[in-house]
């Protein structure tokens, strides 16, 4: 399907939904996808478990004492 053809067909599709009474947006409660939402529920609002942050902090401590593996 060509771009302009698709744009022209959009009004007809919207009309079909309106006639079925189904034209209101059914957006999920958040803008995040379902897997992200579940991850945040599982990890107290964070996208990753808190231990990941702790590991990073330990890594930063090591780097401040011994220098970064990336920058010597």
């Amino acid at each position: 399907m060509k771009w302009e053809e698709w744009r022209l067909s959009r009004a007809a599709k919207r009309d079909a939904l309106r006639r079925a009474g189904l034209d209101s947006p059914s957006r999920r409660k958040t803008s995040f996808n379902a897997s992200e939402r579940r991850m945040r529920q599982a990890f107290g609002g964070l996208r990753v478990p808190a231990w990941a942050e702790m590991e990073n902090r330990e890594q930063l401590d090591i780097e401040s004492k011994h220098g970064s593996a990336w920058h010597g």
Partner: protein, 192 residues
């Protein structure tokens, strides 16, 4: 695609007010960039439903799967998307105000061809509407939040003269889904 072309495309996409049009343009651009690296993508899931339901279902992200055995490495995904100003990690990125997920190999239970749309930034492929509908029917069984989008997908299918109902019933009857009766009930309900 040159750096100048990429930058112009990014500016145009970011300034596109209609969210569905913006998503389709971005899908075209991302598909083109991965195709240039030999990785063919297809738009799946809620993003395909958005296309079929005229944006009434807004998943908030664009989900891509690949249509080849070889996929991009996690590093390659970043290499492709970062020039677009993308922020994120691994398979999940935010680009031009939208979320983009680059997932694994596409599962294609339908015998129909992918649907195609030629966007200003390249052709995109979408899962067939028959498969998109059956997936929604299953999700509606598993999560009440998906009932509205299943109804919308059904209304769109009923208005689509090219929709293959035999194929939709065949997919719905597969052991992978087992939602044939639900599909028929929803069709009756939305047809009324």
């Amino acid at each position: 695609m040159t750096t100048e072309e990429l930058e112009a495309a990014r500016r145009d996409i970011e300034s596109t007010g209609d969210l569905l049009e913006r998503a389709m343009k971005l899908a075209g651009l991302v598909t083109t960039l991965f195709r240039e690296r030999g990785i063919p993508l297809v738009v799946v899931g809620g993003s395909a439903v958005e296309f079929y339901t005229e944006g009434r279902y807004m998943s908030g992200d664009i989900d891509f799967c690949r249509r080849s055995l070889r996929g991009p490495s996690l590093r390659e995904i970043g290499d492709v998307l970062k020039p677009l100003g993308a922020k994120g990690m691994g398979r999940n990125w935010q680009v031009c105000g939208l979320f983009v997920d680059i997932l694994g190999i596409a599962e294609m239970e339908s015998g129909k061809d992918w649907r195609t749309l030629e966007t200003p930034y390249g052709e995109i492929k979408l899962i067939p509407p028959e498969l998109a509908l059956v997936e929604r029917v299953l999700y509606a069984e598993q999560d009440a939040e998906c009932v509205a989008s299943a109804r919308q997908m059904m209304a769109s299918a009923l208005a689509d003269e090219s929709f293959d109902w035999d194929e939709a019933e065949r997919i719905a009857d597969l052991p992978d889904f087992k939602v044939l009766e639900r599909l028929r009930r929803l069709k009756q309900e939305v047809s009324r």
